[in-house]
């Protein structure tokens, strides 16, 4: 079962609150959800929407056709008529407009508003009550949510909202409509968290023992700041809304130098201001985790819309040459896991780690089993690599040349010694130098971290589906995971998806081996940008080239149905031919695992491990 509920109205109508309430009603009734919101960069006016896809199975992207549309104004109907069918249900006020298609469920919002003397903000409570009625849901779950939402505002406010929910519920059933069993409460319910990518980052950062987070508000990264700020007295993290992103990154580097795990977050514009700081982190070898939540650019662009347009910017961010790790989680579950890993990697390699998300992942909720996540978070152990509290060395060699490129890092404060985090090139004891040999030694030391990372912590892309039998292979990164995975269920031809989460640096030969298995298949690169940035990155690092690209850059995510349409349009089909491939590696004549092991052994040998 899949059911797509959507509510729309003017900004300021409480669309976001009621949408989240509906999502939680669904999960508390035993279903899984994915939700998606659209809103303009305005506080009042403009059109806001919130859609919740309810399902018995895992869903990871929105669905095009709407099953129930709640129209709090006429615009909602007009703007969504292309997503309605004869079977779509519509809740609307018959005194405002009458829809031409779909199953009509009139509710006299205007009359209720006058009778009950309420303002527009409260219409959404009636609408959610009505939706529960039609979908056969349990009104008491909504009542519980209203209690959680309004109890602190006093009994009167709570009771009034409860009354409105009941009015909506009764009104909907008055129309001789037999309730459906879409939201029928299940007998066994595994409690689900309803969580966005940003919330997943915040949770991951806390569990990873991040103790300092600084940011300047910028959509779509702002909610990380507000969530962490609201938690800080309870979990003792220091969270700062600071004067600018330059200060954010430099205070974080100061705190990190002093020994605490630190992080900053922003969107493209704010990230641009942090770039010089990344370079400092690179040479002074200071751990730092940066969250980059992309939106449609360039410059101010379209602040509340999505795009994967900053990938190459992030990969190349920072002047000069220094190691950097870029990770691109595809959903909240991966966001939690990769956030935990990012803080470890930043410490282990003493260098910046960038986690990339976008508006689509940052602000869309998914359901995640609380039991499973709690268990995973509980058992997470922190790895600080070579960061230590004590040393017997004098003078202390902060930038000691080592085989793996990583030097021991003493947390300052230890009596009897000292050192600097120097942004100038330096010798091993951290004093400034311009000596040519010392320069080369330190550059080589830092770049050895790349090799160590590729050997110890790089992860190959996840292959979703069966690559051996697939005729169509999708390739992408980050938030495109959801739409692609859901599209694969719609596509009749056998397909697979190569999902990259560790996008930079890439282990050239290992990645080539995966693509060597794809010869003769139809390869489609899917990206939410106009220049196929991941394709460029893949070509740069591995020589792999794509002929077929599905690119979208109108500020909206890619819908699974769009992928289906693209695939079915045979005029576009290009099959990767054996002689055509630019992949250096030969087609596999033996088992892939065996080859993988060989390459690993070679890497290990090259490293001559300590």
């Amino acid at each position: 079962m899949q059911f797509n509920w959507k509510i729309g109205g003017e900004a300021g109508f409480g669309i976001m609150t009621s949408g989240l309430a509906f999502a939680k009603i669904a999960t508390r009734s035993g279903y899984l959800i994915f939700d998606y919101t659209e809103y303009p960069s305005l506080i009042r006016g403009g059109h806001n929407t919130y859609e919740v896809l309810v399902s018995d199975e895992v869903v990871k992207s929105p669905k095009w056709e709407i099953d129930l549309l709640v129209c709090l104004n006429n615009d909602t109907y007009k703007l969504h008529s292309d997503r309605l069918t004869d079977k779509s249900m519509l809740i609307y006020d018959p005194h405002v407009f009458v829809p031409e298609i779909g199953i009509k469920i009139p509710i006299t919002f205007g009359k209720i508003k006058r009778d009950e003397k309420i303002d527009q903000m409260m219409m959404n409570t009636i609408a959610v009550g009505a939706s529960i009625g039609i979908l056969g849901g349990d009104l008491s779950i909504f009542e519980e949510i209203l209690h959680q939402q309004f109890d602190r505002k006093g009994k009167e406010v709570v009771n009034f909202n409860l009354k409105l929910a009941k009015i909506g519920y009764d009104e909907a059933l008055k129309n001789n409509i037999k309730p459906l069993s879409i939201l029928k409460k299940k007998d066994i319910i595994d409690p689900q968290m309803v969580i966005t990518g940003n919330e997943a980052f915040a949770l991951g950062a806390m569990v990873a023992d991040c103790r300092y987070y600084a940011a300047y508000p910028m959509t779509p990264a702002s909610t990380v700041l507000s969530i962490l700020a609201s938690w800080q007295y309870k979990n003792k993290m220091v969270v700062r809304h600071i004067e600018d992103e330059i200060s954010a990154v430099n205070t974080a580097l100061g705190a990190s130098y002093a020994g605490v795990r630190s992080s900053v977050g922003s969107s493209g514009g704010g990230f641009a201001l942090m770039v010089e700081g990344l370079s400092y982190a690179g040479i002074a070898e200071i751990p730092l985790v940066v969250l980059l939540a992309m939106r449609s650019g360039p410059a101010t662009g379209m602040p509340t819309w999505t795009e994967q347009g900053d990938l190459l910017f992030a990969v190349h961010a920072g002047h000069g040459e220094f190691p950097k790790i870029v990770l691109t989680p595809g959903d909240p579950e991966e966001m939690i896991a990769l956030t935990l890993k990012a803080f470890d990697l930043a410490d282990i390699y003493q260098t910046p780690v960038i986690l990339i998300t976008d508006k689509f992942l940052s602000e869309s909720h998914s359901s995640l089993s609380k039991k499973l996540e709690d268990a995973a978070l509980e058992k997470h152990k922190i790895d600080r690599g070579k960061i230590v509290n004590d040393t017997k060395e004098t003078p202390y060699l902060r930038y000691l040349d080592t085989k793996d490129g990583v030097s021991p890092m003493l947390i300052p404060g230890k009596k009897g010694t000292y050192y600097q985090a120097n942004s100038y090139e330096h010798i091993e004891d951290s004093h400034t130098t311009e000596d040519l040999k010392e320069r080369v030694k330190q550059v080589d030391k830092r770049s050895k971290k790349n090799t160590t990372y590729l050997k110890n912590h790089f992860e190959l892309p996840k292959i979703i589906g069966d690559l051996n039998t697939a005729e169509i292979v999708f390739v992408s990164f980050g938030s495109m995971k959801g739409p692609i995975v859901d599209a694969m269920k719609l596509i009749k031809t056998k397909s697979a998806y190569i999902h990259f989460t560790h996008v930079y640096p890439l282990a050239e030969e290992l990645v080539q081996q995966i693509f060597a298995r794809c010869v003769g298949k139809r390869m489609i690169l899917v990206e939410n940008n106009s220049t196929a940035q991941f394709g460029q990155l893949l070509r740069m690092q591995t020589g792999i080239i794509f002929k077929e690209k599905l690119l979208k850059y109108d500020g909206r995510p890619i819908w699974p149905e769009e992928i289906l349409l693209y695939v079915d349009d045979n005029t576009r089909s290009v099959v990767e031919e054996k002689n055509d491939t630019k992949i250096k590696a030969k087609v596999l004549s033996e088992d892939f695992r065996k080859k993988e092991k060989e390459i690993m052994d070679k890497l290990v040998a090259e490293m001559s491990v300590e």
């Binding site: 569990v207 938690w231 580097l253 020994g259 709690d374 009897g416 000292y418």
Partner: protein, 281 residues
């Protein structure tokens, strides 16, 4: 264990540069206050002033131009038991990092900011600095600077700094004394040090400052903000008061953070996660 010394490498400043005197002032102040290099955080800006990183020992950052204040604030928040000192120039602190300076005053972060104010950019060969007088001619302003100078003392006073002082690099006794008071002060302290650049600034020389500086009278009321602002404006008449202009008490930034009952770096790891995952049900 051998006793740690603040003296690092031999300095490379021009002979006669005011920076020599400032380094001696900082070192003497820290020694007289019985610190050793492992007990202080030093955040050096970039420039001739920041090059003190190799000449003065301590747990130090030598970060980015203009960013020594935010770097120091991060260090202090992470480990507030460490005495934290910023060492920078007028370009980094009042120009490139001007925004950070005023917000650090507002926040009353418990750091001491020591500014080498020589009205030029020494390390980049003598371009005008934001504290230079209107009309100052330099390589980058051959026809004279159009802007009027930044008034660092007035700026600090009006943005909420709780300790505002000025010294002169040629006056070692006052420099040591003011730095000691600034380091002992709880909250944001500014020590603006008038520093002749013997190579590039032929106007604001030792002679110039000997003539135009004067010690604040014993009768000067340090707790009177209005009087302090008045004193800070005397620069418009070519007069430079030396000493502590203003000092008041206000909880410093880290003291206002309820979660910092112990230094952030020392506290145990937080582990009650399930109460947070509950919020999402």
């Amino acid at each position: 264990m051998t006793e740690l010394k603040f003296d690092g490498y031999a300095a490379t400043w021009c002979p006669g540069c005011g920076d020599w005197g400032i380094r001696v002032g900082i070192k003497a102040a820290l020694e007289q206050l019985a610190f050793d290099p492992s007990q202080v955080f030093l955040s050096f800006d970039i420039g001739c002033s920041g090059n003190m990183n190799d000449f003065l020992n301590g747990y130090a950052t030598h970060g980015l131009h203009g960013r020594a204040i935010p770097t120091a604030i991060g260090m202090k928040i992470a480990n507030h038991k460490m005495t934290t000192i910023v060492i920078g120039g007028d370009g980094g602190i009042y120009g490139e990092g001007g925004n950070h300076f005023l917000h650090a005053c507002r926040g009353n972060h418990d750091i001491t900011v020591i500014v080498h104010d020589n009205m030029v950019y020494g390390l980049t060969t003598g371009q005008v600095a934001p504290t230079a007088g209107k009309g100052y001619r330099s390589k980058s302003t051959p026809h004279g600077i159009i802007e009027v100078p930044v008034n660092p003392l007035a700026l600090a006073l009006t943005q909420g700094a709780t300790f505002v002082s000025q010294s002169f690099a040629g006056d070692a006794r006052t420099t040591i004394d003011v730095i000691k008071k600034a380091v002992n002060h709880k909250g944001f302290s500014l020590v603006n040090i008038l520093q002749p650049c013997v190579t590039f600034n032929k106007i604001n020389t030792y002679q110039y400052y000997l003539k135009n500086t004067y010690h604040l009278e014993d009768s000067h009321n340090r707790s009177n903000l209005g009087k302090a602002v008045e004193k800070s404006l005397e620069v418009n008449a070519g007069k430079f008061p030396i000493g502590v202009l203003y000092q008041t008490e206000r909880p410093s930034f880290h003291e206002e953070l309820e979660q910092l009952d112990s230094p952030l770096v020392d506290r145990p790891r937080f582990s009650d996660f399930s109460s947070f995952t509950n919020e999402f049900i």
